[in-house]
């Protein structure tokens, strides 16, 4: 008897123990499994609703008089990228008060924060959390997700629930949001140029009598002068990757396909069909050798790839001289610094000057979409329609509370920041949440006392504007995804340190990088991209 019991308990102990071990081992896949199965079960009711609402949309479109039913009070869950402002809850309270009266709904605005936003964004869509509206963008894998079915098809809903937006957004903008004949997002309406460039300390350049920055040599001379004469200053402080990477692509005019981790590019704007693996070009070799000399001169720290500090923060702290920004970003940054550090003088060098042309940004670069998991897509669209088109709603959500975050000038088109009676950084910080997705130019405000170089820049860009022929190529990397993952890995491990000049011997490191890329299957991606891109160029009649 006793013997038997012992046998049983002795069986039970290892059983639980092995369960514990398996649990420990399986941790990773379990998490994915749990969250994803939640999404699977959640998608069942949600999958039914778009069809149903599509039908109702069709019905109400038929008898046009019917106004959408808003009798049921709903709370909408919205997500945007980036970080909230300290006053965001206050702003949203105000906003929701209006919204509740007009549309019987409230919006809970959530933020992903910039830190690690890609993973968070991916998880948001995969986890099946009930989200009614989310920021979407060509640079946040919009086309991939739309193809995978992460977003709701809005084609049938737009005319009924966002009639004004449906009318105002031009057809060619809708086209850029169309995947497989269906519209999955509402692109923003704010034609602009967002080329890369560098913000730098102009006052130091003048003080040290350095040449004006207009090419790689004068840039080098500038950094050299700053490094030698300003003790404790690292020309590009913090993480210098963006500065160097964009300098590379824009200086040689490489048009990279598939984002930063990819190494496939058209060799220049004028030769779109000449598609190459850029690490195998002589230009790349020349560049990495030059970057080695820059790194050795201490233009950035040797641990720059481990750092998270923005170069711009170090400019404000007085220990940095250069910061990568796109043109509108530079305008914002220079305005900001003119308020926090009024004694500094900054200037901007746009990389468009290397080749003297600018490309307008794709409308789909900033948009709003509705994930499949949404339970109130109709109301969410109605709110978006209101937000874009009603100036009161638009300004409150975008610029904050009038009088607290900005004050409106007499013309009603210009805002003054900080508003009268407030001092910078003590009781006022610019209200700058990621409002890009719902931008609608007629409702946008100009900043008074903004950087005066911006207008000149925009004129410069408009004068040399060329059509955007690369961004609309919406490629699905599905057939080569394991090669893409492997190449991305090699890029991080061998490409980044090489391009930052952080290797003892660039020639040997280049050799290694190239052979690792080949092993990772870069040629397969090249063939695939060539085929896809050429098909697009044929279709559009680009030589």
């Amino acid at each position: 008897m006793l013997h038997k019991r012992l046998k049983w308990t002795s069986a039970a102990v290892p059983l639980t123990l092995s369960a514990a071990l398996l649990a420990a081992c399986g941790g990773n896949s379990n998490n994915g499994g749990a969250s994803a199965s939640a999404s699977a079960s959640a998608s069942t009711p949600a999958a039914g609703s778009p069809a149903a609402s599509g039908a109702s949309a069709g019905a109400s479109a038929a008898d046009t008089a019917a106004k959408p039913d808003t009798s049921k009070k709903v709370q909408l869950n919205w997500y945007v990228l980036g970080d909230a402002h300290a006053d965001t809850p206050k702003v949203m309270d105000e906003w929701n008060k209006m919204l509740e009266k007009d549309l019987n709904a409230t919006v809970k605005l959530n933020f992903t924060s910039w830190n690690d936003w890609q993973s968070k964004y991916n998880l948001l869509l995969a986890s099946g959390e009930k989200i009614d509206m989310v920021f979407a963008s060509s640079w946040a894998n919009y086309y991939k997700y739309a193809k995978q079915g992460a977003f709701m098809d809005l084609t049938g809903l737009l005319p009924t629930y966002a009639p004004q937006t449906w009318k105002e957004v031009p057809q060619e903008d809708w086209d850029t949001a169309t995947v497989g004949g269906k519209i999955y997002a509402v692109p923003n309406t704010n034609p602009e140029y967002t080329p890369n460039g560098l913000v730098y300390r102009e006052d130091w350049r003048e003080e040290l009598n350095l040449p004006e920055i207009k090419d790689l040599d004068s840039l080098e001379a500038y950094m050299d002068g700053v490094k030698k004469n300003k003790k404790g200053v690292t020309p590009i402080g913090g993480k210098a990757w963006n500065e160097v990477y964009t300098l590379f692509t824009d200086y040689y005019d490489f048009k990279v396909y598939g984002g930063e981790g990819s190494v496939i590019a058209s060799s220049s704007y004028d030769n779109p069909r000449d598609i190459v693996e850029y690490p195998f070009t002589p230009q790349f070799e020349e560049f990495v050798k030059r970057m080695k000399t820059w790194a050795d001169k201490g233009f950035w720290a040797s641990n720059t790839l481990s750092q998270q500090t923005e170069a711009g923060d170090l400019i404000k702290a007085g220990t940095g001289a250069i910061y990568w920004r796109n043109a509108p970003g530079a305008g914002g940054f220079i305005t900001d610094v003119s308020k926090t550090n009024p004694d500094y003088k900054l200037a901007y060098f746009p990389f468009t000057r290397f080749h003297n042309y600018a490309i307008p940004t794709l409308p789909m670069a900033n948009a709003m979409a509705i994930p499949k998991s949404s339970q109130n897509p109709e109301r969410s669209l109605m709110v978006l329609d209101k937000l874009r088109n009603d100036p009161t709603y638009f300004r409150l959500m975008t610029y904050g509370i009038e009088g607290t975050h900005y004050s409106l000038e007499a013309d009603g088109k210009t805002m003054d920041t900080p508003p009268a009676g407030m001092t910078v950084s003590k009781d006022w910080k610019p209200y700058d949440i990621t409002s890009w997705g719902w931008r609608y130019q007629p409702n946008m405000l100009q900043t008074k006392g903004g950087w005066d170089g911006m207008d000149a820049l925009n004129k410069e860009f408009a004068a040399e504007s060329k059509p955007n022929i690369f961004d609309p190529i919406t490629m699905d990397y599905e057939p080569v995804k394991s090669q893409v993952a492997a190449v991305n890995q090699v890029f991080k491990q061998y490409g980044q340190p090489l391009m930052m000049g952080l290797v003892p011997d660039p020639e040997k490191a280049l050799e290694t990088y190239r052979s690792k890329l080949k092993a990772a299957g870069v040629d397969k991606i090249l063939d695939y991209v060539k085929e896809q891109a050429n098909a697009y160029f044929d279709e559009k009649g680009i030589k």
Partner: protein, 304 residues
């Protein structure tokens, strides 16, 4: 079968007591394991878990195609073996020292001081490392410059990082492990030691012949338990100290960080699960092997 039911009926209470634990593991460990199926599908939001197309082993390709799998697995295993053996050894030594120390005040204080790093998050450890070794104004390079040593840039060489990572891992876990061993030592009967003293054994003889042999079961158990996670690496540790710094990957990349990097940008549920599955299977295999060896040599200490 009938025997089993009779067994249940007879030991109702015992079975009742184990039921919550079994239920817990069934609910939170076994049922979610269904998600492993993702590793073999091409995930789509429409299809979900069972509706997505089946693609066999396609998702595992990216692990193999880069050719890094061998290096990564080797790095992961070697790091963990060093972690486990060195940590346990040092913890053991510290525990014995503490146990033999006479002063109560000193004993308590040093125990607390050793335990403190356990509470420090790896994010802070990462900040320490940056401030210690940064080439611009890090403590170590500045000290070396003061002492007139040649300039050495830690972030340009992969060699020192193995030791830095091992050091911080050991440093962080030392207090925790020491307490476990100390507790085991405190459980030993005083009589053994008294008897040994009467027989004229000095302190070293007592440690060698009484404390260490009696600690062996604890030692083996702790090692076995840590082996389960051997392929898990220590993601926080590596990620916070090394981050995205590709120039150091050759000696610091483990499966966890590799998988994180490849999927953070090109997020794919299928490939992520595939990598997790590889890691888990390998870990299980390892535990089974080690356990097998232990069972062959010292059966009493084996886990199962």
């Amino acid at each position: 079968m009938i025997g089993f039911f009779r067994e249940v009926a007879r030991n109702r209470v015992l079975f009742l007591m184990i039921a919550p634990a079994l239920l817990f593991f069934a609910l939170f460990s076994y049922i979610p394991m269904v998600g492993v199926y993702y590793a073999f599908t091409n995930y789509s939001f429409d299809g979900g878990l069972f509706g997505s197309p089946f693609v066999g082993f396609d998702n595992f390709k990216f692990l193999v195609s880069s050719g890094e799998l061998v290096t990564l697995t080797r790095n992961t295993i070697l790091y963990n073996i060093v972690f486990i053996l060195l940590s346990n050894f040092l913890q053991l030594v510290c525990a014995i020292f503490l146990a033999e120390l006479p002063g109560r005040w000193f004993k308590k204080t040093s125990q607390s001081v050793m335990f403190l790093p356990f509470f420090i998050s790896f994010v802070l450890v990462g900040a320490f490392v940056l401030n210690l070794f940064s080439s611009q104004n890090g403590l170590v390079p500045s000290l070396m410059a003061q002492l007139g040593l040649p300039h050495y840039d830690f972030y340009m060489h992969t060699a020192p990082w193995k030791y830095i990572i091992v050091f911080f891992h050991v440093w962080k876990g030392l207090g925790y492990g020491t307490v476990i061993y100390l507790a085991a030592i405190m459980g030993f009967s005083e009589e053994y030691y008294e008897a040994a003293k009467i027989d004229g054994a000095n302190i070293f003889q007592r440690v060698r012949s009484i404390t260490i042999p009696m600690l062996v079961p604890t030692f083996i158990l702790l090692i076995l338990l840590s082996l389960g996670g051997i392929l898990k690496g220590q993601f926080d540790l590596f990620y916070q100290i090394v981050g995205q710094n590709g120039s150091l990957f050759n000696s610091t990349d483990i499966i966890d960080t590799y998988v994180y990097r490849s999927l953070a940008v090109n997020f794919d549920i299928g490939m992520g699960t595939a990598a997790g599955l590889y890691q888990s299977l390998f870990g299980m295999l390892l535990v089974l092997c080690v356990n097998y060896i232990i069972r062959k040599t010292r059966e009493d200490y084996a886990l199962f």
